[in-house]
Symmetry: C2
Subunit: 293 residues, 2 copies
């Protein structure tokens, strides 16, 4: 925070990004929670205008204002395309938001959440119960493990139909989640119809090498596409996501699910199939940044 808590001045949380040259700042009413886990620092703020805000190592992760965008997008875009969809793996995502969206589908039989830091789950249960509401569904299993080891060493080929990488930025412990070795291991972990989605940063603020990330994906999957959705609390808000699969394009929605997706959309705050298709129609800039021909 910029100011001393007891000074009487307004308190702000500020995240600096893009080589610390830019920042997003939000006025806070109260620090609700603050702890150092073996993995990272977790803070929860009550803000003035965007509800509660969860940060990890000082980086914004989840806010009440816009959590629905990120969580709905990852779950419903993958499900709408998937031909096989009984077994879902989420790496990261300890706030539970993506799980909440997947449990809406009765034909999903198993949802595994591999979150390295159990404290993220516990803190989210306390402060974001509307995000964690799906975690007690009997189909959900929370595995407090390193997602990289889990994918590369622990599971049999074709164990999952959908894999979601709900990670932090490509640095420190999350760096390995953006390598070709990891993406190839995910390919192996996926069924023949398998689909992978991952958050891939802001193309305008290309601090981590977006083209390299997509090249790594292309080394592992025959179909690699990208789409975007706005996450207001993330650096520069324009957020890109990767869609990778063995067979299907991200705009090739499973026609047998068309009635189901229409119905699900009625209860979504963000997602609908028209938006889904439209979001894959990339600008020249987005194409260039990910090295798409």
């Amino acid at each position: 925070m910029e100011n001393n808590e007891n000074s009487g001045k307004p308190q702000f949380f500020t995240e600096y990004f893009y080589y610390k040259s830019l920042g997003f700042t939000t006025k806070i009413k109260e620090v609700l929670h603050s702890e150092e886990t073996p993995f990272q620092k977790i803070d929860v703020y009550q803000t003035e205008s965007i509800g509660k805000l969860l940060t990890l190592n000082g980086k914004t992760m989840v806010s009440d204002l816009d959590e629905f965008v990120y969580h709905e997008v990852l779950a419903h875009v993958s499900y709408a395309v998937a031909r096989s969809d009984q077994r879902v793996l989420i790496i990261g995502g300890g706030d539970g938001g993506v799980v909440r969206e997947f449990v809406k589908y009765s034909n999903i039989k198993a949802i595994h959440l591999v979150e390295i830091d159990e404290r993220v789950v516990a803190v989210s249960r306390q402060y974001f119960p509307h995000c964690t509401s799906g975690l007690d569904d009997p189909r959900v299993q929370i595995l407090p493990k390193d997602g990289i080891k889990y994918i590369q060493e622990e599971i049999a080929p074709a164990s999952y139909d959908i894999v979601i990488i709900d990670s932090t930025d490509p640095e420190e412990m999350a760096e390995g989640l953006f390598t070709d070795r990891f993406y190839k291991a995910i390919n192996r972990a996926l069924s023949a119809d398998g689909i992978m989605l991952a958050q891939t940063e802001n193309p305008f603020l290309d601090e981590y090498g977006l083209k390299k990330i997509y090249d790594n994906l292309r080394a592992a999957f025959p179909i690699v596409e990208s789409f975007s959705a706005p996450i207001i609390i993330y650096p520069g808000a324009y957020w890109s996501f990767a869609f990778a699969s063995k067979k299907y394009s991200g705009t090739d929605l499973n026609p047998s699910k068309s009635a189901q997706m229409k119905e699900i959309s009625l209860n979504c705050k963000w997602y609908n199939p028209d938006w889904h298709r439209g979001s894959f129609a990339l600008s020249n800039f987005h194409r260039k940044q990910i090295g798409q021909k």
Copy 2:
């Protein structure tokens, strides 16, 4: 700026928005220009990572990083749909960026830029010559006038085929640019095939009443639609635009221009017709915020 210029500390420009509860901050190297005109305060900063930045009354207007998005979108979305397109009016937009895009089309015969503050044009010529490069085209006429008076009192019906409202936020002198009275006057100023585009703020940070703005548009035009494009330097980056017309939907691109738009897109940094169509496919949230059934 947050810090004293001579303190030796890094200098930041910060814009607070959404009831001053959130902010965007950018590290600056140098204040290139600062003046009070009869209408507003104009500042130009050399920033560390987003090039030059122009602000009006402390609000971000144009940066080298992303100016192409805003300017390409307003010009090419309207032109691609237009059946009549010889006479273009831009209200505001003294930085010249939208004009630069329109002069690419040889069949446009007249481009009128009604900018109330001549100093914005002069300062832009000095610091953003890549934006103002179209202003000396013989088809361009710069009118230093109040856009509201001009539209409501000075021009004959059906004077223009395309009208672009490139305005600041709906407050102070720009407030009148978002009223039903003004939109009805634009309808009158447009030819039978006429199209109007306007910037309409961030639907997530609804400080100005987005539904009311769109209701005002609906009171003036039979067809009112919305789309979005990211402007990284604007509050929350997710930016909405209104498309209003008497006859054509925003996704009903003029088929006789299809080859021309493809060719123009090759030299655009952002725009292409696929993106154009996709950007009108709105999320549930965007639809709700503008009161779309």
